[in-house]
């Protein structure tokens, strides 16, 4: 299950760039956006909604919309470098960023 995980994907705007974001919502979920052209978005089939934790300064789905699942490459599990930031990336969702309606449960 992908929800709440950090993923590594190809950027839909620039195929040479890889982006690491948190998966906020999956297909069928309804999400309230921050700065997107539509305030409420239902994530279409085969897509996901990704966001960086630093809203407003993040190049994420609030900028380019839902991301196709085919662009997903891998899951980010740990921060290895620098050593003082060594940690396991937890699949946690901030309460204000949970989907309004989720189809999964």
């Amino acid at each position: 299950v992908l929800a709440r995980l950090w993923v590594w994907a190809v950027s839909p705007r620039n195929p040479e760039q890889k982006i690491i974001k948190r998966v906020i919502a999956l297909e069928g979920d309804i999400i309230k956006t921050i700065g997107y052209k539509k305030q409420y978005v239902k994530v279409p089939h085969g897509h996901m909604w990704v966001e960086g934790d630093h809203h407003g300064h993040s190049f994420d789905s609030n900028f380019f919309g839902p991301v196709s699942l085919g662009l997903l490459h891998a899951r980010a599990t740990h921060i290895l470098w620098p050593p003082r930031r060594w940690q396991k990336l937890q699949p946690v969702l901030l309460p204000e960023r949970t989907p309004l309606l989720t189809e999964q449960e």
Binding site: A9, V10, R13, N14, H45, G46, S68, G70
Partner: protein, 189 residues
Amino acid sequence: MFQDVLGKTFRLLGYTLQYGCIAHCAFEYVGGIVVCSGPSMQPTIQNYDIVVLDNLSRHFYSIQKGDIVIAKSPSDPKSNICKRVIGLEGDKVCTSSPSNFLKNHSYVPKGHVWVEGDNLRNSTDSRRYGPIPYGLIRGRICFKNFPRLINFDEPLHTLLHFSCWHICALFIWMILPIKKKSWWRWGEG
């Protein structure tokens, strides 16, 4: 005797790993053989045609307008689509179907391509789901001249999709160790 068998088993595993890595790198970065299905690219590509896919052009970003590409489906990441590239980023494309009297045009956004099947009347393509991100493209079809094989059933050709060369690589792996003398000596004990 037991050490002999163990040694040969390890050597066999070594060969499998070696050829498996080479095969995987070849299919991932160089190209492969693909079985196409569906009517959306007729008459250019017929149902069950076998084509050669070139992945290098995707990695070097040299996909041109007019190329036939294989890409992951935007609505189902587990399936693939085979369409022709009509417009690259920044191009102006006609988004309405040929039967519409009023033509709508739009520009292809950055990092996306507009794809359409050659059989416009029977093709689900960008006119339906919009431009697809360049990152979904897997490769460009560079050669299509293989004779049509026997008709496969629906579930069978899905299985063969993208695994034709894997089967060939396994076949080569099975033949090559037989040519080595140590394999023949195994039978002599």
